[in-house]
């Protein structure tokens, strides 16, 4: 019997993700409008890679996020890995999440939370709810 040199990993892996959820409260929302992902402009390579610009791609939410200059500023201050943010609607909720992280790096920072909270405030405005001032 020969050993498989490329075994397929299975079972729970050391990869975690936190989904930051904004509830739509059963409003009938168009899923495509709330899809958004940033295209990052970067400078440098490997560990010194930094985000210099952000262009959101997606539905109408992406246009709103593109018009927020302060949000773009906040994202350029994040690490390259943290700047990969996805906004994805599922049934009844809109989820904001980043890349998978291992258990050692799976913590939230003040700067990243501020970015998620600002994106969530734009989502609330688009849903017709007043955003919370924090």
């Amino acid at each position: 019997m020969t050993q498989n040199l490329n075994p397929i990993s299975w079972g729970a892996q050391d990869r975690y993700q936190a989904h930051f959820i904004v509830k739509t409260h059963q409003r009938d929302v168009s899923e495509e409008n709330f899809l958004a992902r940033p295209k990052l402009e970067t400078k440098g390579y490997f560990a010194s890679k930094r985000v210099t610009g952000v262009q959101w791609i997606g539905g109408t939410l992406a246009d709103t996020l593109n018009s927020d200059a302060e949000l773009k500023n906040m994202i350029t201050r994040l690490s390259y890995a943290d700047a990969h943010i996805t906004v994805e609607p599922t049934k009844g909720n809109i989820r904001i999440y980043g890349k998978w992280k291992d258990s050692y790096n799976f913590v939230m920072t003040k700067e990243l939370f501020a970015v998620y909270d600002r994106i969530a405030s734009h989502i609330k405005r688009e849903l017709g709810s007043p955003p919370v001032q924090s």
Partner: protein, 78 residues
Amino acid sequence: MHDSESDMSHPMNKNEEYCLSLKKIGIDAETKPLDTDVVEQENYYSKHFTNSPAMVTNHGIIKLKGSNIDEVQIIQKG
């Protein structure tokens, strides 16, 4: 000579661990018991993006107060 490390271990759920990291940065967060929220019953990805994982493990919900985010769900790959 005694080791400075305690012999007692305190196993902590990933959900509680993340909730603590949120509290450390000043967020009003509280964990909910597993499988008590409707969010946990739905699909965690919309499948609009091709790299969504096929299998994930739910670690529970954290309820946030005073923020635009209503809840946080902790998910593990596989």
